[in-house]
């Protein structure tokens, strides 16, 4: 039963759906945007998420987590994708927590995971140095200096950089190997510029200028392999959220077709539109399976999750593009107005598609992993 939620997972999903619908609907994101909110997310909503234990889901019990697994977290991400909720869920709970889970020493886990689990701190993951995701390009580097290190470099497209307490940065260590370090975001030498992207969420450019790093800030098991695994977990998380946004956009479009009349009949009666919706349904079914498969692969502890991750991210990217475009088109003129929420899904989709590798990136990787 790899694809069917168990009772606990179903309950978690249902409660997340209910909570987000009531407490963090699309209207909340609109409000944050219209208020030009300096935090870019609602702190009290976030505190409630913490209280519900969402931050503890993927953290082992020995570090005061719930060890509930990624299939569970995936359901929450899917639901928060439906409501386009802006929060540190993706950056802190999915990405940064994964990095420490995968590459941290026991001491580092004791230190950071406990606090992450209780929501005392948030963290994010800084990978990209180029406008398009290319994790093979790492120029940020550590230089030894008197038993500690200096870190220099620039990271872009860092989710929630401006609101995170800690930033986990991929870099080249003093020996020339790929590594990750965890930085207090208030450290000297760190400049974070908030970037306003089309989805109105939080992103930052992080400039690292001779930032002092002690050896206990270097994630003990960080290397090329664990960085890639961390990225793959993060990609699956992005895919889960983006799948949620896509299925929501689709359902809203279908509902609209049933309401909107033209030429005296509901749009739902036009076969041209029916067939397009049916095709979208098929594509979403395939995407859902790909996401569930990848979440399971993580939970099962599969040695190699690369193919599962790229399959999920690629398929979801393609579907997200399709349904977000069709969503605006099916809503027609009203869909083009800022008043209608469907446009928010279009905008979020393009950002989600670009995060940690777009369709082309993962389709190429899919082929390479299959040996062609």
């Amino acid at each position: 039963m790899a694809y069917v939620l168990n009772e606990e997972q179903s309950m978690l999903k249902d409660s997340a759906k209910e909570f987000l619908k009531n407490n963090a609907p699309v209207a909340q994101l609109r409000q944050l945007r219209d208020d030009n909110d300096s935090k870019g997310y609602n702190e009290s909503t976030w505190q409630q998420m913490v209280e519900m234990g969402w931050t503890a889901l993927t953290i082992p019990e020995e570090y005061e987590g719930m060890n509930f697994g990624y299939l569970g977290l995936g359901q929450i991400l899917e639901e928060s994708g439906r409501t386009l909720t802006s929060s540190p869920l993706l950056s802190s709970v999915a990405m940064a927590t994964a990095a420490i889970n995968i590459a941290g020493s026991d001491a580092q886990k004791k230190d950071y995971l406990k606090r992450l689990s209780h929501g005392e701190i948030t963290a994010t993951l800084a990978i990209d140095e180029t406008a398009r995701h290319n994790p093979n390009v790492i120029k940020s580097s550590l230089q030894s200096q008197n038993g500690s290190f200096l870190l220099n470099g620039t990271k872009v497209f860092v989710p929630d950089a401006n609101i995170s307490d800690f930033i986990i940065v991929s870099c080249i260590d003093a020996s020339g190997n790929d590594s990750m370090v965890i930085l207090d975001s208030k450290s000297d030498g760190i400049t974070i510029t908030r970037e306003h992207l089309m989805d109105y969420r939080n992103y930052g450019t992080v400039e690292l200028n001779n930032v002092k790093v002690s050896s206990d800030q270097i994630l003990a098991n960080a290397n090329k392999h664990t960085i890639e695994r961390t990225l793959d977990v993060a990609r699956v998380a992005v895919a889960a959220e983006l799948y949620g946004s896509s299925v929501e956009a689709f359902e809203r479009s279908v509902a609209y077709l049933k309401e909107r009349k033209q030429f005296g009949v509901e749009l739902a009666t036009f076969q041209g539109l029916q067939h397009r919706c049916a095709i979208m349904f098929c594509e979403l079914e395939l995407a859902q399976s790909a996401v569930l498969n990848a979440l399971n692969a993580i939970d099962r502890g599969d040695e190699d999750i690369r193919l599962a991750a790229s399959t999920a991210k690629a398929k979801v990217c393609k579907v997200a593009q399709l349904v977000s475009n069709e969503g605006v088109q099916l809503f027609g003129g009203i869909g083009m107005t800022d008043d209608e929420e469907i446009g928010f899904f279009l905008k979020r989709a393009r950002v989600g598609m670009a995060m940690l590798g777009d369709y082309n990136f993962h389709l190429d990787r899919f082929a390479v992993l299959n040996g062609y």
């Binding site: 039963m1 279908v254 049916a278 095709i279 079914e285 299959n370």
Partner: protein, 404 residues
């Protein structure tokens, strides 16, 4: 939950297969001749096939879940599951293939009278009669209920006139189960009956259909003043549509890739073999590489979705109209797969005859795949079903109760 009985039964089945199933019949079926069909006109099958068939027939295990009084094995649902499991584990072929088992049987069990069950089910179980299906007509494709083959009431018999198409193996079959129109004045779904016709009756003739891919098992079947005894009517007169619907639903849930066990060479391996790779090990044509990756990625997610659906079915969520999705997705992917193969192979993929081209295997299969999205309900019909039955995209009920 293994009880003593089930454990006993399991080892009984296992031992039986071990003792009776010839080694040659423990490989996947690859071509028509690998099937044993029975029937009066049958070429008879190989010695191994006949040995295996007779052993199984004796037990009633050609149709293990049918009642014993009709030649079946009388297995309970649980036993049947064990039985199928053991057969799969041993890789043993079914002893008898027949549309009688897969299609007519379920209808007779549900709608047939006692005499019909006794007569026809038993002969199906014993492999005596090869049945074929007479549904489609030249003027009734997706709109099956528009069928025009007439069966006039002549007192003790019906007089049947008309034409069926796409009757698989009609030229080899002994009997045909047909949808015929018994009331031409009723609304189209209400004037249809389900009739069993002996292919040896006077006035029945068949003609094979050649496809764009070459020879095919399909035939046209013609009825010219064919007399059919009234006892061959299944269910009530003019109620045949409900039997057809029952069988079509049954059929649709069997297709669409579920159970497709052909071991296919990976598409990318085929393409690599045709054109090789570049210095980075990537398929030489980057544009075709993209297409192939898309096809393989879609195929992979479809496999996952079939797996998911089976799990969901086990948890009590029936597949229902989603079988239309599987049918649609599988056939469309298969068409894309063969487009990519023809493109990858260049002129070698276009060869139609000759050893060099393996007698046109790729080209002919390419042509054949174009029918995947037509047979068993066109892709358009599947999309209609998804739109209406799953997404409920249709007009609201008006005050007069009619949907727009």
């Amino acid at each position: 939950m293994a009880t003593t009985d089930t454990v006993t039964f399991k080892s009984e089945v296992r031992d039986f297969i071990e003792a009776n199933c010839p080694e040659a019949l423990r490989k996947p079926v690859k071509k028509f001749e690998d099937y044993f069909w029975g029937g009066k006109k049958s070429a008879g099958g190989t010695d191994e096939q006949i040995k295996w068939f007779n052993a199984m027939k004796e037990r009633g295990w050609t149709v293990p879940h049918w009642p014993k009084e009709y030649g079946g094995g009388g297995l309970s649902a649980e036993e049947n599951k064990i039985f199928l499991n053991e057969m799969a584990k041993a890789g043993a072929r079914k002893p008898l293939f027949s549309f009688g088992i897969s299609m007519l049987g379920p209808a007779l069990l549900k709608f047939g009278n006692e005499a019909q069950k006794k007569e026809h089910l038993t002969k199906i179980a014993n492999g005596e009669i090869w049945w074929c299906q007479g549904y489609s007509e030249p003027g009734a494709g997706s709109d099956l209920a528009a069928l025009q083959t007439r069966a006039e009431d002549k007192g003790d018999h019906y007089l049947v006139n008309g034409q069926k198409v796409w009757t698989s193996y009609a030229d080899k079959a002994d009997w045909i189960f047909c949808l015929v129109r018994t009331d031409p004045n009723a609304p189209k779904h209400s004037g249809i009956s389900f009739l069993l016709i002996d292919m040896e009756s006077e006035g029945v003739s068949t003609r094979p259909i050649k496809l764009i891919s070459g020879k095919s098992p399909f035939c046209e079947t013609f009825f010219d003043n064919v007399k059919v005894p009234k006892e061959n009517l299944v269910g009530q007169e003019n109620m045949g549509w409900s039997i057809a619907t029952f069988l079509l639903t049954h059929e649709r849930s069997m297709i669409g890739g579920i159970g497709d066990t052909d071991v296919k060479q990976a598409l990318h391996d085929f393409a690599l073999g045709q054109m090789g790779s570049d210095d980075n090990g990537k398929l030489a044509d980057p544009l075709l590489r993209k297409e192939i990756a898309e096809i393989e990625l879609d195929a992979r997610t479809l496999d996952m979705t079939i797996q998911r659906s089976l799990e969901e079915a086990k948890s009590g969520k029936p597949i229902g109209a989603r079988s239309s999705f599987f049918k649609y997705a599988y056939t469309e992917i298969n068409k894309r797969r063969y487009e990519a193969m023809v493109a990858a192979a260049g002129v070698n993929g276009l060869g139609w005859e000759g050893e060099k081209y393996n007698d046109g295997a790729v080209a002919k299969q390419f042509c054949r795949t174009k029918g995947n999205s037509i047979e068993g309900g066109t892709s358009e019909v599947q999309l209609n079903i998804i739109a209406k039955r799953i997404l409920h995209l249709r007009g609201k009920k008006q005050e007069n109760g009619i949907r727009t």
